[in-house]
């Protein structure tokens, strides 16, 4: 079997997508922690274009971008499939993965460094987008993948654990059980899946990391010469 290595960064939800996919398929790999403030020669060699983690190295060949890595893992190790077999169902899964990327990212960038009343406004926008995901993707299913987790669950995994720490740092909750009941239930179900439960960063450390990160982002905003409604994203 060819060697599999994963270059990662411990707080990154993108890195954990890859960890979960590999573990779900029982693929052995070596994990290498990167210091992103001092990028290693290995990282710069294997992801010269974007210089980011995660990077998967399989038999000496490097693959970057978590969503690309997930598709590679799915095709290379077909056991325990993460995507549906039916082409239309597969296309729907990819659609929702793309939705998360395009719709959630700008809202998240507005929410995380938000201060004062902006926080409630950003949280509401977030809830509107998540309501669409809850209604049209999750529906009455236990997981996005149906009875068991699939690629969409893995990609949305950030919401199930990292997001709680972010909500605590911001001070305004988004995934309220009264507003997003099924998504809230999914969060709890997802965290109970054994591969997920056994592969999560330390909660206390993660919370401290996000609190520090948010402080940096917020103070960077207040040094801007323009008024506070300047878009910081």
């Amino acid at each position: 079997m060819e060697e599999v290595k994963l270059l990662g960064f411990w707080p990154s939800p993108f890195v954990y997508r890859v960890i979960w996919a590999l573990k779900l398929k029982d693929v052995q790999f070596d994990y290498i922690e990167e210091d992103l403030s001092n990028k290693s020669e290995l990282l710069l060699r294997y992801n010269p274009v974007l210089k980011k983690v995660p990077v998967l190295i399989h038999g000496g060949k490097a693959i970057a971008e978590s969503l690309v890595i997930l598709e590679y893992i799915e095709e290379t190790w077909p056991q325990n499939p993460l995507l549906p077999k039916d082409p239309h169902e597969k296309a729907l899964a990819r659609f929702w993965i793309q939705f998360g990327l395009e719709k959630m990212r700008p809202i998240h960038q507005a929410y995380f460094p938000a201060i004062g009343e902006e926080r409630e406004k950003a949280a509401k926008q977030y809830q509107e987008v998540l309501k669409i995901v809850e209604d049209q993707c999750l529906g009455d299913q236990r997981f996005f993948g149906g009875e068991t987790i699939g690629m969409v669950d893995i990609v949305y995994g950030m919401l199930a654990y990292w997001f709680e720490c972010m909500e605590e740092a911001v001070g305004v909750k988004v995934i309220e059980p009264s507003i997003l009941p099924r998504l809230h239930a999914w969060v709890n179900n997802f965290k109970q899946v054994s591969v997920i439960k056994d592969n999560l960063p330390h909660h206390g450390k993660l919370l401290a990391y996000y609190k520090t990160l948010r402080e940096k982002l917020v103070s960077a905003r207040s040094t801007l010469p323009t008024p506070s409604n300047h878009d910081a994203s």
């Binding site: 693959i63 590679y72 597969k90 296309a91």
Partner: protein, 217 residues
């Protein structure tokens, strides 16, 4: 065959043209419906309720939205003229560069038309084009000897869209001096027997952009 294929698109959109390129390269018969985005049809709203955007592909009565998702679906459903390579590592490389075009190149290029600091925006766009040029190397197409997934996703750059916008707005983005390989690729792209049938009418596109961006010299 009873496996009707329908495509909802807009004549000037590089996103819906991508889907047409893929279908034509594979010789798939389809029915095309032109959408008026100012007055969206009931069918579009029914088949893409989440985004209400084109393109939408309808196959066996089921809709698929998002052009890159549609391309993957087409490639898996009709095996003739594969768009993605067979080897998983090469497929990953193609998907990486397709994402790079969508998520880095195109936003950087669009930004040049609206940014206050135009010089900086152009520099950033050039950086993305340089990386793309380096990836092309001496290949005729990103797909190798013939058109592939990345070529199609990069249609905005290879086709007339970017050329027209840069001429009308007065930007030096894709130039022969800086990007000789990409320019050569772009010429191959627009002259490819199948692709050229899929590009929007030149005059109509130019006129559209001139109205949209004004004729600043």
């Amino acid at each position: 065959m009873g496996e009707e294929v329908k495509l909802f698109g807009v004549w000037g959109s590089p996103f819906s043209r991508r889907v047409e390129m893929a279908l034509k390269l594979k010789g798939v018969e389809y029915e095309y419906f032109e959408e008026d985005l100012q007055n969206k049809s009931d069918l579009l709203l029914k088949y893409n309720p989440v985004h209400k955007k084109i393109p939408v592909l309808l196959h066996k009565g089921k809709p698929i939205a998002e052009s890159a998702v549609i391309l993957e679906y087409i490639d898996e459903t009709w095996k003739g003229f594969p768009l993605l390579p067979k080897d998983p590592y090469q497929r990953a490389t193609a998907r990486f560069w397709a994402r790079f075009v969508e998520e880095k190149c195109m936003p950087a290029l669009f930004n040049c038309t609206v940014a206050e600091d135009r010089k900086k925006a152009v520099e950033e766009a050039h950086e993305t084009l340089k990386l793309l040029e380096n990836e092309l190397k001496d290949k005729k197409f990103f797909g190798g000897e013939d058109i592939g997934f990345v070529d199609i996703v990069a249609d905005f750059i290879g086709g007339y869209w970017l050329r027209d916008i840069q001429e009308i707005v007065g930007l030096e983005l894709l130039t022969k001096e800086k990007f000789p390989k990409l320019c050569e690729w772009s010429d191959e792209f627009v002259n490819h027997a199948v692709i050229k049938e899929c590009l929007p009418p030149r005059d109509k596109l130019f006129a559209f952009f001139r109205t949209r961006f004004g004729s600043k010299s």
